[in-house]
């Protein structure tokens, strides 16, 4: 664990040494020196190169031992074979932090991985904050510290300052994004590339920046991260009330899992990420534009009290476009209060109808004060939480109109106001050059404000104490349901029988109709081969089904071991859900629900959360299904027992969270949700274990 003092030495160093310093300012060993000078780093810069006495006007030292005291950070640019020694030299010289640009470590194979491990060991042993290896370095904009070799600083020699800390797992992408930020004038407080993350990773840097009062927003570019680290950062970000905007690409290699159950396929690694982002109040940017727009907006706009949008537009067409996107993004257009309408009617020309969106027509281009009146009236409407203003091109008058809009904002104290203006500009409100991008940013703002307001989720059910499961990679229906029943998820009445006579006797006692199913560890999808018969109405049906199932099983899987058959009551009425839980490689236990046996598979209509969840979250999962209306009763069908379904989902989530790491998947398919007040029944279930070597 790297200490805070060492991290400070890395991110806010007093003096910096460059090991492998080059007199050529275009080389990797020359650029950091030039950039530090270019940005005006206030501390000492010490080039280290035994072959030189002076570089860039600075005295050059033969080695780290020769340096004066007080060096916090060493930038290491020497070839891979020499990096280990250089890091050891840092330790010997009591240097607390190092940035290693050099590549050729874990990314090139096992030998490199071993070398990287040795770097990590040195760093840990001496509490050295190590950034990299194989990274582009970092920049602390306020402190003018730039131990980096990114050519983004060639294009434009400086970076505007702003309250956004940017951390990237890809150096190249980070440089490109930095260049875009510079071009758009987006300010940054920190720019950090994490490289191979030998010791310090995305989460460590993010936590450090969250503690820094100068950082208001963290923007991240992620390729892969373990769930626990992300959870840690997300929790810290929520605690600090600082938004975390992340662009996540690629499916993590570890996330590809094979399982005999369908749920793994349905869940998919990306869906788990999406669930984690939502549950942890992080914002997921889909592309670079979103990442920049959202972090910029969150850094500068106040948080809205709700999602209701007011639109003022110089173009009716842009107003319609934004209205479309508002609806698609779940941002309702606020109905205007009568007083707002009166204000607008008084201020606007007769042909501009007071409405939301407010189409001012092109009149504000020459009619001074009109824009201010429109924006002011709508922004002050108590029903409006977020203001979107479209100025459009307005090349000449645009500047004046933007100023008017700003004046209008004064009346809208505390409400975010986003402005789209296509011309070049230098105004101080978040400005967009595309109305749809602006609307998306508004949605991100609303989503984050909601995440902050959201009450803590209700507690998940207590972890159940469950009996041991039978051995085997696949635990079939009968044993699985008994186990789940012990965890509080009830199944239908049923019994395992060895003969048709036993089945008939049980059915006669309990009453028809019944279902009959093969019990075999070798036939996971019994319906597909005709080894499940439902709705058997009498003994002759039952006996015929017995023979048919035996024949079908033999035909499909000749070597199948048959443990008997399960005869069970038919549960009438209700709606069928699939409820399942699995263990994600990156995020651990996950719970998922979907509607209907066939529907869930064909339409992939599912909701997914990291487990465990409480019953309120489970209810929210059910409500988010596209087919949720079916659960509430359609076409005269009665409403289902939603609380019982939510309870079962919550309980299953607690079961997987408490189960041993060998339990891979628990699938209840179907879970019959009976009419309100009558509970649920797990009609079928399957549990799979992961292979012993993986657990």
């Amino acid at each position: 664990m790297t200490s805070a003092a060492s991290l400070r030495a890395l991110l806010d160093p007093r003096a910096i040494a460059v090991v492998g310093a080059s007199a050529d300012p275009s080389r990797t060993g020359g650029r950091p020196i030039r950039y530090l000078q270019q940005l005006g780093f206030a501390g000492a810069i010490y080039p280290v190169n035994p072959g030189r006495s002076e570089i860039a006007g600075l005295r050059c030292y033969p080695n780290l031992a020769a340096l004066p005291d007080g060096v916090d950070l060493a930038v290491i640019t020497v070839p891979a074979a020499q990096v280990e020694q250089a890091l050891q030299d840092c330790a010997d010289a009591s240097i607390r932090a190092a940035v290693v640009f050099t590549s050729g470590f874990a990314e090139v194979g096992d030998a490199g991985r071993a070398q990287q491990e040795r770097l990590a060991a040195i760093a840990r042993a001496h509490d050295i904050a190590l950034c990299g290896p194989n990274c582009l370095g970092l920049i602390n904009v306020a402190k003018r510290s730039a131990p980096t070799f990114t050519t983004a600083l060639e294009r434009r020699p400086d970076i505007p300052y702003g309250p956004i800390g940017f951390i990237s797992q890809s150096g190249a992408i980070a440089a490109f994004i930095l260049a875009r930020m510079q071009d758009q004038g987006y300010g940054l407080s920190h720019f950090i590339t994490t490289g191979n993350e030998a010791t310090l990773g995305f989460a460590d840097f993010a936590e450090y920046l969250l503690d820094d009062p100068a950082v208001g927003v963290i923007a991240g570019y992620l390729e892969g991260i373990d769930g626990a680290s992300l959870a840690r950062v997300a929790a810290a970000a929520l605690r600090h009330k600082k938004p975390l905007v992340v662009m996540k690409v690629g499916a993590s290699a570890a996330g590809t899992r094979a399982t005999v159950a369908h749920t793994g396929k349905l869940g998919g690694n990306d869906a788990v990420y999406a669930a984690a982002f939502r549950q942890w109040g992080m914002l997921r940017a889909e592309n670079v534009d979103d990442l920049l727009d959202w972090s910029q907006t969150l850094a500068h706009a106040p948080l809205p009290a709700g999602r209701r949008v007011g639109i003022v537009s110089l173009s009716g067409g842009a107003a319609v476009l934004m209205a479309d996107w508002c609806e698609q993004l779940g941002l309702p257009l606020a109905p205007l209060a009568p007083t707002t309408r009166e204000r607008l009617a008084a201020a606007m020309p007769w042909f501009a109808t007071p409405a939301n969106p407010m189409d001012t027509t092109g009149r504000p281009l020459w009619d001074e004060g009109l824009m201010q009146a429109a924006v002011g009236a709508i922004a002050e409407d108590p029903g409006v939480d977020i203001m979107l203003v479209y100025i459009g091109l307005a090349p000449g008058p645009g500047r004046r109109i933007a100023a008017e809009v700003l004046a209008g904002m004064a009346g809208a104290a505390g409400k975010p106001l986003l402005v789209c203006w296509l011309a070049e500009n230098d105004a101080a409100v978040p400005l967009f050059t595309e109305p749809v991008r602006m609307t998306r940013a508004a949605a991100a703002l609303a989503e984050y404000a909601e995440a902050l307001r959201r009450p803590p989720p209700s507690a998940p059910p207590p972890a159940p104490t469950l009996p041991a499961l039978p051995a085997g990679a696949v635990i079939g229906e009968h044993a699985a349901k008994r186990w789940l029943a012990a965890g509080g998820i009830e199944g239908p009445r049923e019994t395992l029988v060895a003969t048709a006579d036993e089945a008939a006797a049980w059915a006669a006692a309990q009453g028809y109709p019944v279902a009959l199913k093969i019990v075999s560890p070798d036939v996971p999808h019994r319906t597909d081969i005709g080894a499940v018969r439902l709705g058997l109405r009498n003994e002759s049906d039952l006996r015929a089904a017995w023979e048919a199932i035996r024949a079908a099983t033999r035909a499909a899987v000749p070597t199948a071991r048959i443990d008997g058959m399960l005869v069970q009551e038919m549960v009438a009425g209700g709606v069928e859900l699939v409820v399942s839980a699995f263990r994600d490689a990156a995020f651990g236990p996950v719970v998922l629900c979907g509607l209907g046996g066939v529907l869930v598979e064909v339409l992939n209509d599912t909701a997914l959360r990291l487990a465990p969840v409480g019953e309120d979250e489970a209810l929210a999962m059910l409500a988010s299904l596209r087919g949720a209306a079916i659960l509430r009763g359609v076409r005269g069908a009665p409403a289902c027992d939603l609380p019982a379904a939510a309870q079962a989902i919550a309980r299953l989530s607690a079961i997987i969270a408490a189960a041993g790491p060998d339990i891979d998947t628990i699938e209840i398919n179907p879970l019959a949700v009976l009419p309100a007040g009558r509970g649920v029944r797990a009609l079928d279930a399957l549990i799979t274990r992961r292979p012993a070597e993986a657990s």
Partner: protein, 714 residues
Amino acid sequence: MIAPDKLAALFRPTSVAVVGASDDIGKPGGRCLTFLRRSGFAGPIYPINPRIREIDGLPCYPDLAALPGPADMVVLLVPAAQIPGHLRTAGRAGTRCAVVCSSGFAEAGPEGARLQDDLVRAAAETGMAVLGPNCLGLADLHAGLIASFSTALETTDNFRAGPIAFLSQSGAIGVAVFTVAQNEGIGFGKFLSTGNEAVLNFADFLDHLAGDADVSLVLGYIEGVRDGRGFVAAARRARAAGTSVAMLKVGQSDAGVRAARSHTGAMVGSAQVYEAAFRRAGVLAVADIRSLLDLALVLPARQPVRGPRVGIVSMSGGAGVMMADRATASGLTLATFGEAMRQELEAVLRGFSPVANPLDYGAIYGSLDAVRRCFAAVAADPGVDVVIVFIGLSPHLAGVIEPILEEIQIRYEKPVVVAWLGGPRHGLTGLRDRGVPAFDDPSRAVDAVAQLVRSAVPLPAHDDAPTERAAETRATLAAFAASGRTTLTEREVKALLAPYGVPVVGEALARTPAEAEQAAKNFGGRVAIKAEAPALLHKSDAGAVRLDVAADAAAAAFTAVVQAATAVVGAAGVAGAVVQPMAPAGLEVLAGLRHDPQFGPTITVGLGGVASEALGDVATELAPVDLAAARAMLARLRGARLLGPFRGAAARDTEALAAALVALGRFAIDAGPLLAELDLNPVIVLAAGQGCLAVDGAAVLAAPTETVTEETDP
């Protein structure tokens, strides 16, 4: 109907009069005149303003009558009330076309609507082609014509004329896109703001541009088209002529519909029908303004697009992953590299990075020759349809990489699209000037490639001529309407559809219990018995339907359903009962037709059952459809897998279902606007080879006022 030469004159007039011209550029009349003079218009320009003698060297005339000869085009910037009079004067003098910029017409209330009616009459009397009113005018840079007063055009007087035309139902969006495009070096050759479309509408202009050799891409902003079928025909004509068409359609949500209604009063129509119309017309749909501009960058394509397989060549591994993610999400596929190029790439990359797609050339990017060989190897691979190149920063490549990429694009005859993130601006424009589409964002570059690939998908067939049965079908429907009927019974619906080849369950109309029993015996099995009562809407609820009845119980069932129906609608409303065989078990789907106010007959198919209906899983197409389009409709259903072999159930007879949709589509065209909607629910789809069967149906006739849609030619 406007004569084609008059419509064409809007774009290439021989002379232009500006009514309401001004010597003050701060006023619309001043701007319009200034832009027109700056645009390099070759013919005479006549400013008209009774209070001014001369404007900057041009003699100014007091009115149109005072002109030395007729103006070919008049641009009108005077108050609305004066417009019809000016139109009549101009028309009588031989003016072929008019641009009415003034507002204060239909968009401004009842008085304006009356003025607009008068404007339409004036146009009809004179036969003039009229653009507007309430529009920002048009520009045709190929003809050196700018007839607009938009302040946005002040930003530059050095427009570049490219092969792109932009039609916009919003003036402000139109000029914004036009200007931003010009600033980015994208040549828009023509721009037209359609305004209230009182005389000429969006489809008319699209149709005109379809035949314009200077235009190879038409972009549009639409709130709602007035003439949907005309729009489809015009877009198809453009596609057939090799011109791509892409539209930003707004008003796709309830909120958007409300906003559009107050903006232009346009009938925005159903998003699903527009999707179907765009598909049929080969029109690319875009979702935001930036995407329109991105399309302008990637289309018109200089090279043929053969398919969706992309080869991604990236300077950064991370950007490669990002673009691969995006490509997969937008329906592109990552090409599998062939052996020949594998060897070439191994030789170039020398083990620094693996030969894979996306290909990471970061390790060798110091050698321009190696980079060129990398690009060429990927472009040469026969498995690659489009090459996407990612470059980051690298200002030194500007001026160097452009000819290399252009050469590769030409040599291998496939599109090369570049994403240059953080690159210098002249690098991007340098590539664009050489015909290599270049973007400053990787996601947008990939999205544009996906659109490029879609633009090359062949046009689906479309033949909406009625069949030889049309007259008979229309006569039947007209007779129903004339007898005051508003709905049709299941029996009537089936009788209309059966001749078209829609398989319907057999039936017999029984008037007595004995006839019902005989009919049941004839069918030879269990039957359904339903009261025949046109006015009875919910037969099941009224107890007027009995299912699964044995032949010996048919007489009693007949009596029961007739009594139940009589109790609701009276004896006079009950014609007996329909006896029909019980349908065999199979997958239930629903099929139907709707007459769309803009696009005419459409057909819809969806999976039946409560669950699927609640999920709204339906596919819609403009009628008619051919077999290929019908199959595609079925494949588009989210639940399409239920039609195939699924969970032990045999595959369904999708061919029979597709054929039934084809038949339904032909019927829809024949029925035309007389029929508002028709539903077949359910249609039972049996196992493959066994067909499908419509077992129930209902229809609603058009309300009398809606049936008058045939336009009379003045």
